[in-house]
């Protein structure tokens, strides 16, 4: 049996994974990074608008933290938010020193643009391709440091013995060979859950793998009802139009040409929090002031010069995918699935288990998580734009350090080769299945069901329908058959594994959402339209039970900011 072994194994080569690897490596750890797609292909590259931090003297990290707490609708853990906003300042500076080019102001310092839900201009950016700029620079540094990477390796399972993660099983995609991956610490940086929903702004590789594996391994998925719909996505394919466009001054218009945000958020207008703007758009569309299910984003008054420099990618995306010249005409857009606030419950050092020993939540020792796949709870009920990239670098770094430190204190766990043989047997049985349904068919039906039932607005009935549909689809998994039983680059097989992960996670989203009987952040229920701090100022936890996810609760950590009415 082929085996690889490193003290710290990082699964995922997006910004969180790379930052964790960088930190682990500079601290002298024996570390390697596994990624199912070549690391620079990771979805972090698609982040457009920017990354927040209070860099200027007029601004303060406390102000950033307050905006984040308020944006989260008070569901974010304030200790984690303080860390994010305080340490984030140095993390951005560190990224600049590594080579990120960041747009500059006239004095040559890092420039910032406005973003939704923030009281100051504090979103640092590289034109409208910030994620790509950050990811590539991080990758250049990792090449320089000589990080060991396993590129295009797909992790299929985590291996757990006595509630401790002792490694994982991974397939080298180019050969189809399975490997036993032994690690003292395993770090999940596998990104979000994008294709549980259709349409989605996320890349095709964003398929909830880490979430599914961690859930099956016994970790807790926290606040999974927190699903963010971005206000400006293209109708044709769900591709994102960055919030940076509104940050630079773009308007939102309804079919009558009115800036309708005046009626929903008279102070912040287009730059209110994302949940607020997406609800406003949906209301406009439902009340007949949209066109074919869309409203419009209008950039015309920004002028050609600004558009073609600071929003060049947007200009191209609109031209290529909507045949629209944004310099001359408003662009039709609609809210679309974008981001998962929920994720694997971790502490502020990325540990998925409760080190206090009090078992306040269920977790798996030696398993860490960071980035979109994790939930250290800085985004709570609604993420502010620009805070996710920051989340990946701040908590990626802390998690990398945490994993190295932990790995020093333990030996490799016992691992049985039987686990790899299990995976091997599973694959063989998949190849042997008779003709049945395509996994893509089930994926599309799941996407539609989730988007119909648990989107911008939701209620008991709509969510129940979605849950029932997802469960019915899950039962069809054994009927899925593959077109390909080859070993080399068998993406049909990988699509099946991804679908299994997504279905587990979709079920957790639906059950968590059904359980929260209030409206908070992006979780907007028409049957419980108000926030209810008395009963619901708490996190939902979904853990694997005998017949699907079981829901429990955890208090929210409040340090400085008591919940008050949230208006923009």
């Amino acid at each position: 049996m082929a085996t690889i072994q490193h003290d710290v194994i990082i699964i995922g080569g997006g910004l969180a994974g790379m930052r964790a690897a960088h930190e682990a490596l500079t601290q002298g750890g024996d570390v390697a990074m596994i990624s199912k797609i070549y690391p620079t292909r990771s979805h972090s590259a698609a982040a457009q608008g920017g990354m927040q931090a209070a860099l200027t003297e007029e601004d303060s990290w406390e102000s950033h933290a307050y905006d984040t707490v308020k944006g989260s609708d008070y569901l974010g853990d304030q200790d984690a938010i303080e860390i994010l906003c305080r340490e984030g300042v140095d993390d951005i500076i560190a990224m600049e020193r590594m080579g990120v080019i960041f747009n500059r102001d006239e004095s040559g310092k890092i420039d910032a643009r406005a973003f939704g839900g923030t009281s100051a201009k504090r979103t640092c950016f590289v034109a409208d391709q910030t994620g790509q700029a950050l990811l590539h620079v991080m990758w250049e540094q990792l090449l320089r440091l000589g990080l060991k990477t396993y590129d295009e390796w797909f992790v299929t399972d985590l291996l757990v013995e006595n509630n401790r993660c002792v490694g994982s099983v991974a397939m080298q995609i180019s050969t189809g060979q399975l490997h036993l991956v032994r690690a003292k610490a395993t770090v999940l940086c596998t990104g979000g859950a994008g294709h549980i929903y259709a349409p989605s702004t996320n890349g095709l590789a964003v398929t909830a793998d880490g979430l599914g594996m961690a859930y099956r391994a016994g970790a807790s998925l926290m606040d999974m009802e927190g699903v963010q719909h971005h206000p400006t996505t293209l109708k044709s394919n769900g591709v994102l139009i960055t919030e940076g466009a509104r940050g630079e001054g773009a308007y939102l218009l309804n079919s009558k040409g009115e800036r309708f945000m005046e009626n929903y958020a008279p102070n912040m207008l287009e730059l209110a929090s994302r949940d607020v703007v997406s609800r406003a758009e949906t209301t406009e569309i439902l009340e007949g002031r949209g066109v074919d299910g869309t409203v419009f984003i209008d950039l015309r008054h920004l002028g050609r010069e600004l558009i073609t420099t600071k929003l060049a990618q947007i200009y191209e995306l609109a031209r290529d995918y909507a045949n629209c010249n944004v310099i001359e005409e408003p662009l039709p857009i609609q809210p679309g699935y974008h981001y998962l606030m929920g994720g694997i419950k971790t502490d502020v050092d990325g540990r998925t288990w409760d080190v206090s020993g009090n078992n306040k939540w269920k977790g798996v020792e030696a398993l860490f998580a960071a980035g979109e796949t994790a939930n250290v709870s800085v985004h709570g009920g609604n993420r502010l734009g620009g805070n996710s990239l920051l989340d990946t670098v701040v908590f990626g770094r802390r998690t990398g350090a945490g994993a190295v430190e932990y790995a020093k204190s333990v030996d490799y766990g016992e691992i049985s080769e039987a686990s790899v043989k299990d995976t091997e047997a599973r694959i063989k049985s998949l190849f042997d299945r008779p003709d049945g349904v395509r996994s893509a068919t089930l994926r599309r039906e799941m996407g539609a069901a989730m988007n119909d039932g648990i989107a911008v607005f939701r209620n008991e009935e709509s969510m129940n329908i979605a849950l029932q549909k997802v469960r019915a689809l899950k039962e069809k998994l054994p009927e899925v058959s593959l077109h390909n039983s080859g070993r080399i680059f068998n993406t049909d097989l990988l699509a099946y594994f991804e679908l299994e992960n997504m279905m587990d996670v979709a079920e957790a989203i639906a059950l968590s959402a059904l359980s929260r009987k209030e409206s908070r952040g992006a979780h907007a229920r028409t049957d419980f339209p108000d926030r209810d701090d008395e009963n619901w100022l708490k996190h939902t936890l979904a853990t694997k039970g005998n017949s699907g996810p079981e829901i429990s609760y955890l208090p929210v950590t409040i340090t400085k900011w008591e919940p008050t009415v949230r208006s923009y």
């Binding site: 797609i37 979805h43 310092k109 250049e140 540094q141 095709l204 893509a440 068919t441 680059f489």
Partner: protein, 316 residues
């Protein structure tokens, strides 16, 4: 919209020669080549291997040859191609790299070359307390190189790489530019020395192909020309690289392969007199050997621009 996709298939496990599969598809108006391929892979033939993720021309996964030219499948609208190049769309894996399966090529050579240019900013010392203070213009200049999404299209279609696998190639050299021109970097001189060695900047023949195919307007050739200027100005002239200015011509002589010229001429267009003149010696030798390709290729200037113009006309 109707389109006929002709896809090159190759499965090393079966061991047969590459073949072409045809698929007649009915597609939505704004379908990209990637949408079409996904439709095939999802519903018709799940054994089709390809790479794709972002669907928005930023992850660099989906380069392949579409009607003979390396392009991003997710950025190429079927309607545009069908309009300009006909209803049959031929899809093949990228060139200059070995095929793993179907449309997937082994890019390890690509990544190795990027590694060779010594990536990774080495910040100037003493490091400032906060960020480096630099002008926005100096950063914007680097942005043109940093726009590179490592898709491999330029490497696929680079005419020198076709005959000389040792050439570092356009993408890696565009990245090299990004470091040697970064005002914050501490190793400019060492870098320029490296980049002027054999197989680096002096091996390019200025055939323009990389500029033509790059989906992100990185213009690698222009970066290479800037690097040449920079190395000469910095006095890095006496090294094997500089003495190899004629590398492409040499390679051709060595291998006797000449079809590349067609691409070259196609890419230049007929207005780029200087570039054409530089090509004459090669063309003339080719002519003598009765291997001269058609001088007037199907499309003369940048295909992209022609397409854009046609789009506009079509819409009005």
């Amino acid at each position: 919209m109707q389109a006929n996709l002709k896809i090159q298939r190759y499965d090393p496990e079966v061991g047969e020669e590459p073949r072409y599969d045809s698929h007649q598809l009915d597609l939505p108006e704004y379908a990209t080549v990637l949408d079409a391929l996904l439709q095939i892979r999802d519903d018709v033939d799940g054994s089709l291997a390809m790479r794709a993720s972002c669907r928005s021309a930023i992850c660099g996964s989906c380069s392949m040859r579409i009607n003979g030219e390396a392009r991003l499948a997710c950025k190429t609208l079927i309607a545009n191609i069908v309009q300009v190049e006909g209803a049959e769309v031929t899809i093949e894996p990228m060139g200059n790299m070995p095929v793993v399966k179907d449309l997937v090529v082994d890019m390890s050579m690509f990544w190795d070359k990027v590694q060779k240019i010594q990536p990774g900013l080495l910040p100037k010392t003493p490091e400032p307390e906060r960020e480096f203070i630099v002008s926005n213009d100096s950063m914007l200049d680097l942005a043109t190189a940093l726009n590179c999404i490592m898709c491999g299209a330029c490497v696929s279609d680079c005419t020198v790489l076709e005959v000389d696998k040792e050439f570092i190639g356009p993408a890696a050299l565009a990245k090299a530019y990004r470091f040697s021109n970064d005002p914050r970097d501490n190793a400019t001189d060492l870098r320029l020395d490296l980049y002027s060695q054999e197989n680096y900047i002096w091996s390019c023949t200025r055939c323009f192909q990389c500029v033509q195919v790059c989906p992100k307007d990185v213009a690698p050739m222009e970066k290479i020309m800037s690097l040449r200027k920079q190395t000469i100005e910095a006095g890095h002239t006496n090294n094997p690289g500089t003495r190899h200015t004629q590398a492409f011509a040499d390679s051709i002589r060595k291998t006797g392969r000449l079809d590349e010229i067609r691409l070259t001429v196609k890419a230049f267009g007929i207005t780029n007199i200087t570039a054409m003149i530089q090509l004459i010696p090669i063309g003339w030798r080719a002519f003598r050997h009765k291997k001269m390709p058609h001088l007037l290729p199907k499309s003369i200037s940048s295909i992209k621009n022609v397409r854009r113009i046609m789009d506009k006309l079509g819409n009005e």
